[in-house]
Symmetry: C2
Subunit: 157 residues, 2 copies
């Protein structure tokens, strides 16, 4: 198992810089935003999602660390509102940092998360993945997640 | 091919009664709403989506009819905003009415829709399906839609 701890403020600040940039890049790549406006719009999106940063109610950001070395190997970001009828938590992001990939941490991380959120009263974990992200889909499927919703599209131009 | 025509007001009113009830029932079944509040909340949801009913900007409701008999066999409801960067239309609902199912109308309807929306400048059609709706998924896969997004979940209770 990996250890899950509430993220430190400095780690959060660094993470947000990276997430804001990544999200901006994705939106530019998808043609939704122009390069010029992307960084600003991305900052606004995250500001709306986490208005109180780390302290935002119902949002949980946890650092994943190796039990022996205490190295931070990745993190989880999920949303959970205890008043949710099905006690469902939604995983916003889950990352194993690059140097630690390919070592099975992903699977152990998911197991650790399940144990952690159970204590919070979570009964169901949900997430979204892009269909092309085969690595992530494989990981979740191996961890016995079921596909619940599918978005499909067709180019007819 | 099937004929696609702008829906008549009386057909829209009848359809909305049915859609509002269905949506309410689904939400009760999913445990999201109580039975008592479901009908009112469902009405509010549709009111928010179609504030001007049939005339709501960017929403298109078309009746599908058989070219020979003129019988209305189903309908499409999609959203299309010409200012969308990828000229993407989103199918809100697509229904072949019960008496007409199992006769291949679904396939022909999708073909007719593609032809119709192309004229509007639509370049991409998107939709959401529940993973358990194998009949719909099969239909869209046969019509060459690709899976773009997947939602997954796991019960850990």
């Amino acid at each position: 198992m990996l250890n899950l701890n509430v993220m430190l403020q400095k780690d959060f600040d660094e993470l947000m810089k990276m997430e804001v940039q990544n999200y901006a890049d994705e939106k530019v790549k998808a043609g939704t935003w122009t390069k010029e406006e992307s960084l600003q719009k991305s900052k606004e999106a995250f500001q709306q999602l986490l208005p109180d940063g780390l302290q935002t109610t119902h949002h949980f950001l946890l650092s994943l660390s190796h039990p022996n070395t205490n190295e931070v190997v990745g993190y989880f970001w999920y949303h959970f509102d205890e008043s949710h009828p099905q006690k469902e938590a939604f995983i916003y992001n889950f990352l194993i940092f690059e140097p630690y990939r390919g070592q099975g941490f992903g699977r152990r991380a998911l197991e650790s998360l399940e144990k952690y959120v159970k204590q919070q009263g979570v009964k169901k974990l949900s997430l979204h993945v892009f269909a092309h992200n085969k690595r992530a889909i494989h990981l979740y499927q191996q961890a016995m997640y079921d596909i619940t919703d599918i978005n499909m599209s067709k180019y007819i131009g």
